[in-house]
Amino acid sequence: MTTSDVLGRLRRGAGHLRWFWNGVVGADAYERYVAHLRRNHPDCEVPTERQFWRDKYEDMERNPKTRCC
C-alpha cells in the first residue's frame, strides 16, 4: 500500500465519520431538506439556509421533543 492509498483511506474514513456525526446531531438538516425538495418537489422554491433554520426552530417551538432522564 502506498502513502497516497493510506491517505485516501483516511480521508474516506474521516468523511464517513463526518457524515455520521452530522446526521446524529442534525447538522445536515438543510442539505437533506434541499435534496428532498429537488427530488420530490422540483418546482418548489428552495428556502435560504437562514430561513430554513428559522423555520426549523419555529417548528421545535410548537412540537417540543423530550430528552430522556
Binding site: V25, A27, A35, H36, N40, M60, E61, C68, C69
Partner: protein, 763 residues
Amino acid sequence: MSVATPVEGKVRNDPDLPPIAVNESPQMTGKTKIYLAVCAVLAALGWVMIALVRGEEVNSRWFVFAAVGSYLIALRLYAKYIERKILQPDDRRATPAEKFDNGKDFMPTDRRVLYGHHFAAISGAGPLVGPVLAAQMGYLPGTLWIIFGVIFAGAVQDYMVLHFSMRRNGRSLGQMARDELGPIGGWAAIIGVLTIMIILIAVLGVVMIGALAESSWATFSIALTIPIAIFMGIYLRFLRPGKVNEVSIIGVILLVLAIISGKYVADSSFGHYFILTPLALGIALMIYGFAASVLPVWLLLAPRDYLSTFMKVGTIVLLAVGIVAVGPTVQMPDVSAFASNGKGPAFAGSLFPFLFITIACGAISGFHALISSGTTPKLIEKERQARIIGYGGMLTESFVAIMALVAATILDQHLYFGMNAPAALTGGTPEKAAAYTNGLNLVAQNGTPLPAVDPTMFSQAAKDVGENSIVSRTGGAPTLAMGMAEVMHRVPILSIVGNKAFWYHFAVMFEALFILTTIDAGTRVARFMFSDFLGALGRGLKNEGLQKFADPSWRVGAWLCSFVVVLGWGGLLIMGVTDPLGGIRTLFPLFGIANQLLACIALCVVFGIVVRSGKARYAWIPGVPLVFLLIVTQTASFQKIFSSDPTIGYWALHDRAVAAKAAGNVTFGGAKTMDDLDKIIRNTVIQETLSVLYAGLVLIVFLTTLWVCWRAIQQHTAETAESPIEQSRIFAPAAFVPTPLEQEVLEEWKAAGLDPTPIRAHH
C-alpha cells in the same frame, strides 16, 4: 394480516424497481455461528470471573466482557425471536418516514445515524446515577439486574414500542394507550406520564444540586454554560446559520475553559459568591427552568442540546476507552451486608424490591417509551431496522449503566460510603465521617475486614479533586465524577489534558449538562402536555376558557402552564434539597418507582396490542417483564406506604415525627430543630400522596389492559389500530453490516443507476 412467506430470496413489488426487501433464510450461516460462539466465550469468561472466581480482586475489564458478550448474543437470538414470533416486520410496507417524507420530521434516515440519534435521545443522567447508588449492595446484584434486566425487559420494551408506533404512523405512547386501551386507560396513562415527568425533573434537579452545593468551582463553571449556550444560539441565528458542528466545537472549547477557570475563581477573593446553599441553588434552578421553557428555542434550548450531545457521546466513549485501557480493580465486595439488612446509607430497603427501583434507567426505563414512540419511528427507513435501533440502542444505554457501576465500585469503600451517606449519618466532617465508615464493619472481597481509615483520607480525597469537602456529597453525581476522575487521570493521553481535579469537574459538568437539558426539554414537553390536557378537559366540559389552552400560540396560556409545571417540580425539588434526612434518600426511590411505573404503562400498551392482534401465545414476552415490574413497584410502593420501619415507610416516619414533636424532642432522626421536624411531617405527606397516586394510576391502566385483553380473547377478534399498508419503494439493509443477500440487492440498485434510499444529501 399478511405475513411474509419465509422463503429465501429477493422481494419486488414493482417490476420497474430493483427488489425492496429480502427474505433471509431462518437458518443461521456458519459465519453467524462462529460469531455467536465468540460472543459466548467472551460472555462466559466475563461472567465466570465476576460471579464465580473468588479470593482475588476483580478487574473491571471483565464487566465489559460479560456485558458486551451477553448483549450481542441477546441481540442476535432473543431480539430475533421477538421479531419472528410477534412483530413480524415486513419490509414491503412503507414506514411512516417513507410515506410522509417531508424532509423534516418525517424522513428516512440511515440506520447507523438513526441509532446514534436514538441513543443520544434516550441516554441521560439516569443510567449514570442509579448504578452508583446501587453499588452499596455490592457489584454483583447491580450487574446482574442491569444486564439481564435490559435483555428481558428494557430492550424488549423499547423495541416493541418502537415497532408498534412505527406501524401506527409514529403515534405517541399516550395516543396508543387511548387507541388500544380505551378512554379510561388512556386518560390514566396520560395523567401518569405527566405527573411522572414532573417527579423525574425534580429528582434530577436534586442530583445536580448535590454536585453543585457548597462548591464554587462546580457552580461557577455550570453557571457559565448558560451564557455559552446563548452565545452559540446567537451565532447560529445571526452569524453562521446551520453551522452546528462549528459552533459546537467552539462551545466545547469554551466549556473546557470554563472548567479550567473555575479553579482560579474558586481560589480567588470573590470565589465565595459561588458557594451557594442547596436552597438558593434550587430557587435558581426553578427560575432557570421557567426562563428556558418560555425563551425562544433557538436561544437556549437548541444550542444546549447540541453541546450536551457532544459532551454525552464524547465522554461516554472516553470512559469506555479509559476503563478498558486502565482496567482498574474493583474494591466493592460482590454482595455487601446492605443487600440483605436493608440499612444501606445511600438508599434504605433490602435488595428486593429496592435494587430494581434504584437502577431504573439502564435496565428498563419507562421514559424511553416516549422517545421510541413519536420521534424515532418517524425517521426509520425499513421495518426490520427497528431491532438494531430499538433493542440495540437500549443495550448501549445499559452498557453506560455498567460503566457507571464500575466507576463507583473501583472507589475505596470508605470513600464511597463517606460520600454517599447523608450528613445526618456522617456528621459532615472528615473526623466524624471516618468514625462513621470505620464503624460500618466494611469487608474486602475475600471477606477480611478493611483496615480503619484516618480522617485525613477524606480531606486528602477532597483536596485531590479541588473541593473543600467530599463528605456526604450524596446524589450519585459526585461519586461518579470521583470514579471517572480516578479512571481518566490514569489514561496516558488524558492525563496530559488535566489532573484529577480537572477530570472531576469535567465529569460534574457533563452530568449537569445532561440534567439541565432534560430540565429544559422536560419542562417544555410537560407544559405542552398540561395545556393539551386542559384543552381536552375544556372540550369535555364545554368550557371555552379551558379550550383556549389547546392553542399553543396563546402566550398567556403557555406562560401559565409553564409556571404551573415549574411550580410542580420546583416544589418537590425544594422539598428534596431541604429535607433533613437527605433528599436523595427520600426522593430517589420515588423517581425509580415513577420511572418503572411508566415502563409498566408502556408494557401494558404493548401487551394489549399483542393479545388483541391474536398473538396471545407470545404475550409472555412483554408479559413477564410487566408482571415482574408490577410486583416490584407495587411491593416498593406498599413498603413505602405501610412499612413500620421509619427509614422505609412514609407513614411510620410521619407518625414518629409527629410523636417527637408532641414530646418536644427536636433531635429526632436527622432533625435538629422544630422546623426540621415540621419539614419531615410535611414531606412524608407529599411523598405518601404521590406514592398512592402513582400506584393507583398504574393499577387502573393494568386492570383496563386485562379487561381489554379478556374481551379480545372472548370475541376471538384480531383487531388493531395499525395504519393501512402502503407499498415501499426503497431498500436498505436491516442491521449495521449488510448480509450477502442484501449486498446483492444493493448492487442491483447501483446497476440500475438508482439510489436505494434517499438518505444521503451529499456524497
